[in-house]
Symmetry: C2
Subunit: 337 residues, 2 copies
DNA sequence: CATGCGATATAAAACGTTTCCAATTGGAAA
DNA sequence: TTTCCAATTGGAAACGTTTTATATCGCATG
């Protein structure tokens, strides 16, 4: 009853040809006479033959499978990215093996080696920080690796990102443009380059360009979560000179910020103005709706996968370090101009 | 530089043993003298040998890979489930191939066949509705298939769920217990058995047990999204006899419902009371915080994967149709008793 | 009618493991 | 010493494809 265990050899016998010929028709090789092709196709249908991808992989050294290493798929941000990757993968007949690393170096390395052992044709990596050991492993990889929403930190790995520095600059500048002389910044862990160097730098540059002083305590560390945003803002609110404009490194933290403000009896955007980052679905699931930096997660995933297919097909790749455009989506957490 | 292309044969030569012995060492077979084992292990380290899982899969007919078919990984609900699956899979040394079906029958069937072609050892399936054609394919599958958060609709497939009927009953009953004589129900598509038969039935049974009449227009269809919940509630609010208690089939829809109510100038929970379903992270990201039915997504995924491993290892499985407990998490969208 | 050539088809060798079965080894018992 | 059995090890056949080198076919050409 299992359409299993019927091999290319069975088909060959049934059709009265050699297995090489069956292989050709299965793979759409044109060097087959139409009548032969039909004969074989009929045999295939009759027997319910399904090619064994493992055997194929062994013989051809290609598995049409790519590995995807992600910190945490249950995070809406990465889930979106993964969907972009998978859609494009499907488009190009690839499947993805998905693994969670929790941004943990050892898990990342272990996962990488497992994937390489499974002979994936390529890998897409997401992670906050590129540990040196990991990069060493990357360099030894026999297959191409593409970074998605992950800075390549000077290593010349193909990568797809937005310009985080500029995005943070734009967000901060927009807040400053609303007359604020002080802007709070709720950020993710600074050891991740994306926060510690890019967004942070953009934030400071915007202050500087506006001639505003940088104040250490206007910056509070969070861990991307709602709870951490809430807590950070509560702490901020205790100050007498609490900034009335907040830029949060993540939408989820921004929601926490807004609720902290509202819980304290203030209004957004009348008393406080808030800008988030990412434009996840969350941005519209709050009142007031969140003004946020649009980071096209799905697109980053899709473009990363497309880039990988190009590399795999040895197609021309004009630029290995792709920077996708960002913009700010204005919603109600900012006053009208 | 690639640690690639070194095979078991190279290791055998380097260590001065046969490849059978190397194979034993690699697979932790105890029938190897410790000194030999060490000799081989040294050779492995020296050469940087990494077993080729594809060849192994061909020879052993096991790939230590399972397929996961999910409607949409970018949906927070399924992302959570997937994380549970992956964690347990990792625990048992499996990897997962993840594919999105968009609950589309053709995609589901195509995906299933691709996975079977890749010789996965088993499959975990999630989907709103089990199309008959799909079940036919399931029956032909040479490997076990487990349903997660998906009703098996009378087919005797292993499945992991909660008791949706009872959960809906409990939620509705709780609302009724607060004195409401009328309860609105914002539901997902009714053609999905989980809504159309289970939740809906629980809702009606609760009304009935309380001696309340069922009113057709107290039920509004949504599609799980925030927007659909918002819209549904707006429609509901136009009525003079709008129910003041709402049970939403999904947290995301519940958020929409709450916002629609607030946008209309009413208060939750003072004017309206709302109960959601799933207890996703969203439930605490709203004011008032959402009272909701706890469906343990992560656990469902984890248990489903564990069940699959049991079946794969031919372990004793006491009950193939697992029903996990649910409960209602009380938060502020309900008045205090 | 032999020749030659492109178009098709075949045979057989990889691909890198696992695994069955046979062979060898080592040491305790006789 | 021998003998024997259990513990180790080795040999070689799968596993189901792809792929390369080789053969065959059909037919136009001289």
């Amino acid at each position: 009853m299992n359409s299993n265990n019927v091999t290319i050899y069975d088909v060959a016998r049934e059709a009265g040809v050699s297995m090489a010929t069956v292989s050709r028709v299965v793979n759409g090789n044109p060097n087959v006479k139409p009548t032969t092709r039909k004969k074989v196709q009929d045999a295939i249908d009759r027997l319910g033959y399904r090619p064994n991808a493992v055997a194929r992989g062994l013989a051809s050294k290609k598995t049409t499978t790519v590995g995807v290493i992600v910190p945490d798929i249950s995070n809406i941000f990465f889930a979106d990215l993964a969907r972009g990757i998978e859609d494009v993968a499907t488009m190009y007949k690839y499947n993805i093996i998905l693994g969670n690393s929790d941004s943990n170096r050892d898990k990342e390395i272990h996962l990488l080696n497992t994937l390489l052992g499974k002979q994936v044709d390529g890998i897409i990596f997401m992670g906050g920080r590129l540990h040196e050991d990991l990069v060493d492993e990357f360099k030894k990889s026999p297959v191409p690796i593409v970074l998605a929403a992950t800075l390549n930190q000077g290593y010349d790995l193909p990568a797809v990102n937005i310009d985080y520095e500029q995005a943070a600059y734009d967000a901060t500048e927009m807040l400053i443009g609303h007359g604020h002389k002080q802007v709070g910044f709720i950020t993710g862990p600074l050891e991740q380059q994306i926060n510690g160097e890019k967004k942070f730098a953009g934030y400071r540059r915007a202050l500087e360009d506006a001639g505003l002083p940088f104040q250490e305590n206007d910056v509070i560390l969070g861990n991307y979560t709602y709870a951490s945003g809430l807590e950070a803002m509560q702490k901020m609110l205790e100050r007498d000179d609490c900034p009335k404009a907040i830029f949060a490194g993540t939408d989820e933290m921004a929601l926490g910020v807004i609720h902290a403000i509202q819980d304290a009896g203030f209004s957004v955007p009348n008393d406080f103005e808030v800008v988030g980052h990412d434009n996840t679905r969350l941005a519209t699931m709050i009142r007031p709706k969140l003004t946020t930096v649009v980071q096209p997660m799905y697109d980053i995933g899709a473009v990363a996968m497309r880039l990988l297919t190009k590399i795999l097909n040895a197609e021309e790749v004009e630029e290995k370090n792709v920077v996708l455009p960002h913009r700010i989506e204005r919603r109600d957490s900012l006053r009208n101009d």
